[in-house]
Symmetry: C2
Subunit: 210 residues, 2 copies
DNA sequence: ACCGTCATGTAATCGGTTACATGATTCT
DNA sequence: AGAATCATGTAACCGATTACATGACGGT
């Protein structure tokens, strides 16, 4: 009965669950370390899944009957997980169900900027720091993209390069947006042109209010 | 001693902690509900902080000595939290410390797309769904932005409108990127032009592999 | 007076994060 | 052979999410 409830509780699968299910469905039987490597090379660039998760999640899914596990006898005693029919079904069901939740965009730099007026002097430094970071990330994506898309690669089925491409394309667009944003902030907060135009708001420290 | 350790453990403050500290530092003594409303109107659009968090976190911060709490005697028995000197200090320290962690971009639609080849028919429907969602969100931001920026508002200090503007500007840029991305995906996956150009990869279901 | 929504809070569960730990490989 | 890094895993804590619950307020 516990098993029944568990196997029916499709609703309680997390994004991590579907990531694991999807990877194993596509790549075939995998060890947690396989998952880790694949994730690092693709979606992990902007959605982090700590490796401990990728070791724990397959165990959960196995309990739910969505995966099976076999363990190497000797050597590293690796765990190899295989997807079951139920697992494929859960995955299909999820793919067919539209996701209406909106994107979580969690950025510490943005949070800092949100409070930057509390210490006006830091607004610029935050912007410059973030600008540098996002420019670097953008460059990394662009380098990876040109390297990843070998013209006329006649590989019959999608390779990991393909998936790098798919996921990184969005990352690329996001980083472009981020660079644009932080560049604008940096300019706006730059005190170098002491123009007569009034600032949008006073620059006194607001951190202590009466 | 526990208290000492706790108050020194600045490192273990989470983004939520700084959000709460920052809001109370800027807006003055606040109830959890005040926090909730403010967050909903601003950063909550793309970084969700469930209201239960905003009730629990102030209590934690109070234990750490970063806030003080006073409770209404009668009526709704609201809890009013005020920031302490230590709290302001922790906030300042955080603002001065650059955040090097990169953005978390958690999007269920992207995750689905990542596995869309497992069910080729769904790739397009996912793209269309996401495109509609992001267009709607983009429209909402743009509507909010024009409404929120009253020319020549001579308010002496930044109002909540100002902060809506600051946070939503990034949201706006992100949504533009997202719309661009999903539009491209939708076009690429659209089978309407049955051109002779070979597809980048075969469209057979990969969900069962030998 | 009633009803719906706003406002306010608590409890329990559980996933995610951090920290720890150690056996294989590879390089010098 | 030793060092460094890769590979592999476990354990524990704790924050975040979900669910539950109820009192105040405004409108009809």
């Amino acid at each position: 009965m516990t098993a029944v409830r568990a196997s029916l509780a499709t609703a309680q699968l997390t994004p991590t669950s579907y990531l694991v299910l999807g990877l194993i469905a596509r790549e075939g039987p995998s060890t947690p370390y396989d998952l880790k490597r694949h994730v690092t090379a693709t979606i992990g660039h902007f959605w982090s899944f700590p490796h401990a998760l990728l070791y724990k999640e397959p165990a959960r899914l196995t309990e739910l009957g969505l995966l099976t596990e076999e363990r190497e006898a000797g050597g590293r005693r690796r765990r190899l997980f295989t997807i079951t029919t139920a697992g494929r079904q859960a995955l299909r069901a999820w793919l067919a169900r539209p996701s209406r939740e909106s994107t979580e965009l969690r950025d510490l730099g943005l949070l800092q900027l949100f409070f930057a007026d509390l210490e006006p002097a830091t607004a610029r430094s935050i912007a410059k720091e973030q600008l540098a970071l996002h420019r670097a990330q953008l460059a990394a994506y662009e380098a990876g993209r040109t390297a990843a898309a070998p013209r006329g690669s006649s590989s019959p089925s999608p390779t990991i390069e393909h998936w790098r491409g798919v996921t990184l394309r969005m990352g690329l667009l996001y980083e472009r947006a981020a660079v644009e944003f932080w560049a604008a902030v940096a300019v706006r907060e730059d005190p170098s042109p002491p123009s007569t135009r009034a600032r949008s708001h006073s620059k006194v420290s607001l951190i202590r209010k009466p």
